[in-house]
């Protein structure tokens, strides 16, 4: 039996825990605590990591890891992303500067990006359309990245699956 790793990272409140819950076949293991950050509109926040799982037909497993969003845990982003099959970066477009948020997370895994398929999902775009998805693509181009960037509602399994499908396309292209 083999195990493959898929990592969800991104800003606090972007929906990493929700995304894992949307597709996990086991009840997701959470390490949420009461949120004490008054700038965040959420009751609980993740301080360790989230964990979910997909079981493949041959017995192999895909482990779904969600990193804590806080910058002080950036060492965990790198540790978890190492040897991952793919990395999903979730950005909350309702935050003050989503483009800077993205840059921060890309910088956090810059070494892994050359070998690890990566996709960016931008949430809450319906109520917060600026910056646009095209603005994200342009910002990525300016710092030398061509990474799929799509709007997502991580409560919808189909949206999460689209992110994974884009990772698979990149993995196939790497073969």
């Amino acid at each position: 039996m083999k195990e493959f790793k898929l990592v969800f990272t991104g800003t606090t409140g972007a929906g990493k825990t929700t995304a894992i819950n949307a597709i996990s076949e086991i009840p997701a293991v959470k390490t949420d605590v009461v949120n004490t950050d008054v700038t965040l509109n959420k009751e609980f926040t993740t301080v360790g990591l989230d964990f979910g799982q997909l079981n493949l037909a041959n017995g192999d497993r895909v482990r779904l890891f969600g990193t804590p969003g806080q910058i002080r845990f950036d060492f965990m982003w790198r540790i978890l992303t190492r040897d991952a099959f793919g990395l999903i970066i979730l950005i909350d477009n309702s935050r003050p500067d989503p483009l800077s948020d993205l840059k921060l997370y890309l910088d956090g895994v810059v070494k892994e990006l050359s070998e690890t398929p990566c996709v960016i999902g931008v949430g809450r775009t319906e109520l917060h359309p600026v910056p646009s998805i095209d603005d994200f693509a342009t910002a990525l181009e300016k710092i030398g990245y061509v990474i799929p960037v799509v709007p997502v509602d991580v409560r919808q399994p189909t949206d999460v699956i689209l992110l994974i499908e884009l990772l698979m396309a990149q993995a196939e292209a790497d073969l």
Binding site: K2, N55, A57, F85, T138, I147, E165, M168, E172, A173
Partner: protein, 199 residues
């Protein structure tokens, strides 16, 4: 059912036929095999076991309830392992050349929304240079659709275009490694798990 799958799949392109003999449910023969016997296991013989979904198993399987795309994926994986086919890149003396394309930036929404397959095609082009045939093979989409997508990108100056035939031709003739086979198998299984299938 299997005969219908083999005949109608554009991805298999009639490379496999069903031989109705032997002690198993079905023998599928690749067109590169000039002779075969149902009673002799050759080095190129691969067993595809029929199993129920959720049952533990190793190796190639065809899972009940049956899904055509899964059998096609399995056969393509076997094909790739046993009969690696070089990417067709014409030689220096050829009258035409093959272009390889890679994205300069992720395409704007107005292009990606023109067809649901465009986003995945862009995904393939985001990880290094690919030619038109690569896109068709990876995506399972029609060549015309892939060409239209490339044209749409080119009109907006979103593509790097390289000829790169020498290096690509050399590398593409190397048989797939075991790691590559495992990765292909993993992607195929994950695609099945998520209810995804290539067109």
């Amino acid at each position: 059912m299997i005969r219908t799958i083999l005949r109608t799949s554009s991805r298999l392109d009639n490379r496999w036929v069903l031989a109705e003999q032997g002690e198993c449910d079905a023998i599928l023969v690749y067109d590169g095999e000039k002779s075969f016997s149902p009673f002799v296991l050759k080095t190129t013989t691969e067993l595809i076991l029929i199993r129920r979904r959720g049952d533990h198993h190793d190796g190639h399987v065809f899972l009940k309830p049956f899904r055509a795309e899964e059998l096609i994926d399995t056969l393509l994986n076997i094909e790739a392992a046993l009969h690696p086919r070089p990417v067709h890149v014409q030689t220096a003396g050829s009258s035409t050349s093959v272009n390889f394309y890679r994205l300069k930036k992720w395409p704007p929404a107005d292009i990606l929304h023109k067809h649901k397959a465009y986003m995945l095609l862009a995904g393939y082009l985001s990880r290094g240079a690919k030619n038109l045939q690569d896109l068709v093979t990876f995506s399972g989409q029609a060549e015309d659709l892939c060409r239209e997508f490339l044209q749409a990108l080119d009109e907006r100056n979103l593509l790097h275009v390289d000829s790169g035939r020498v290096t690509r031709a050399a590398s593409s003739t190397i048989p797939a490694s075991k790691i590559q086979d495992e990765k292909k198998s993993f992607l195929s299984l994950l695609r099945s798990k998520l209810g995804l299938s290539k067109k």
